[in-house]
Amino acid sequence: MDSILKFDNVSKIYSNGTQALKNVSFSVNEGEFISVIGPSGSGKSTILRSINKLIDISSGEIYFDGDTVSVQKGKNLRHMRRKIGMIFQNYNLVYSLSVLQNVLHGCLGYMNGISGVLGNYSEEDKKRALSLLQELGMKQFCYNRASDLSGGQKQRVGIARAIMQNPKLLLCDEPIASLDPSSAKTIMDLLKDMTHKRNIACIVNLHQLDAALKYSTRIIGLSKGTVIFDGAPSEMTDDVIESIYGTSRENLMMGGAENE
């Protein structure tokens, strides 16, 4: 299997002095489903956002698909970004547009100049968007305004938009944190299913330990900006959990259950 993403000794210090990441190194292979877990402020978001250069790292290097991330600029950066899909906690759709339009936003990065500006989507793209919506069970809503959907439905549109990009890597920033338990399960199932079918590597930031254990092929545990665990879910012992969260597993599962 090929490595698609590589973190090499990455550190990030914010301008206010907070050290968010400390010498983080790991690499991601094609088709992996990785959960990044850790308490709030441990640097989960920073890891995700530095991959598509929403955040500039302070030292070290990130390599994505053969390119060095930190030197990408302008057009090259856009070309790199369109290979990376992203899903957000708050869905971040354009709520006054139709569901289909929101999904089609995923292919804007591939459209050249004027047709992109005018939103002249090709028929193939539209067909692909509709079949994606069908796969996600959302086809009947394709002409609804995105604002009329429920939270779980909005997140499905978010997934469709990301998959529409034909990404090699999917970044999910707390995808189920704003959802009720049953929608959260649907979304995680869909994520796992869709990325597995397309052999897309997927990195998910999660608060829910049980979801991480259930879905991931690999878990990265963060504490105060340092990677203190990197391995299969089966290797996740109670000791490891305690060292990540600073509290015992029982307390955590209670909290997790409440969260869901």
């Binding site: 971040n92 006054s96 591939y110 005018l118």
Partner: protein
């Protein structure tokens, strides 16, 4: 802070058995309002004194107002062709300047919106410049354009455009800024260029607001345009002021009636559109 004050006040009120009147109002009501009203009244009185208006003279001429209105109401249909074309010209100037400003307003609004331009000093500079343009009333701009461009509808369109564009720039920038940064970020990480994000997400999201602002502005533009003639540009305002000065009250009255009817129709239209959008 205010709450503790209120509580202690109630305490003294109920604890104190002196025959003080029992107040019934809320304790924390806005004390600013009475002060504000007294201030306004004082200022108004001072202003009236400062203006030093000769009320007796005005009062003495009030009967003449009656005469003028009486004459105005006797419409003279002799010049209806002239009035009609003047009205049409006024409406055309108003609409054309609105359309030009709509396009300019979207462009400048994009430059002035902080979340889209992302160069803070540039947005602030653009906004300040348009605040200045907006602060000078339209007829002054038209007057200047008359000086620069000479008589004719060009001066009217250009002068109206200055103020209307400034208005649109501010309003549209506000609408554009109301789209959340996270949504813009979500589109940016798909590798979409800045301009495509703007046309595909920001404009559609602000579309209904753009329509509402445009409708509102049409109302203003028409009434501004109707008075342009009075400072020297063409259109119906010129017909009104000219005929009033020449004591052709019948023609002036008819022109004023037309202005009223069109302004009223635009207002109704706008109310109807607003209801439909909501």
């Amino acid at each position: 802070m205010e709450n503790t004050l209120t509580n202690s006040d109630i305490y003294t009120d109920s604890g104190n058995l002196s025959p003080r009147k029992i107040t019934v109002g809320c304790k924390d009501k806005n004390k600013f309002i009475p002060r504000f009203m007294i201030g306004v009244l004082l200022l108004a009185v001072v202003s009236l004194v400062y203006l030093n208006i000769d009320w007796l003279k005005i009062a003495g001429r009030i009967p003449q107002i009656g005469t003028v209105f009486f004459k105005l109401a006797h419409f003279d249909f002799g010049n209806i062709g002239l009035i009609g074309s003047a009205i049409l010209e006024t409406v055309s100037i108003a609409v054309l300047s609105l359309l030009y400003s709509l396009v300019l307003g979207i462009v400048f609004g994009m430059l002035a919106a902080r979340n889209i331009t992302k160069i803070k000093w540039f947005s602030v500079a653009t906004q300040s410049f348009f605040t200045f343009l907006r602060a000078v009333p339209t007829p002054i701009w038209v007057l200047l354009m008359l000086v620069c461009l000479g008589m004719g509808p060009e001066a009217g369109v250009a002068g109206l455009c200055v103020h209307t564009t400034a208005f649109f720039t501010k309003s549209f920038a506000q609408s554009f800024e109301s789209i959340s940064d996270e949504t813009l970020e979500a589109l940016e990480v798909t590798g979409t260029g800045r301009l495509s994000v703007f046309t595909n997400a920001v404009i559609p999201a602000a579309f209904s607001q753009i329509i509402a602002w445009t409708g509102m502005r049409l109302e203003t533009n028409f009434s501004e345009c109707a008075i342009l003639g009075m400072v020297g540009a063409g259109g119906v305002g010129f017909v009104i002021s000219r005929n009033l000065q020449n004591y052709q009250y019948g023609t002036a009255g008819l022109a004023i009636l037309f202005v009223f009817i069109i302004a009223y129709l635009i207002e109704r239209l706008f109310v109807a559109i607003k209801k439909k959008i909501q």
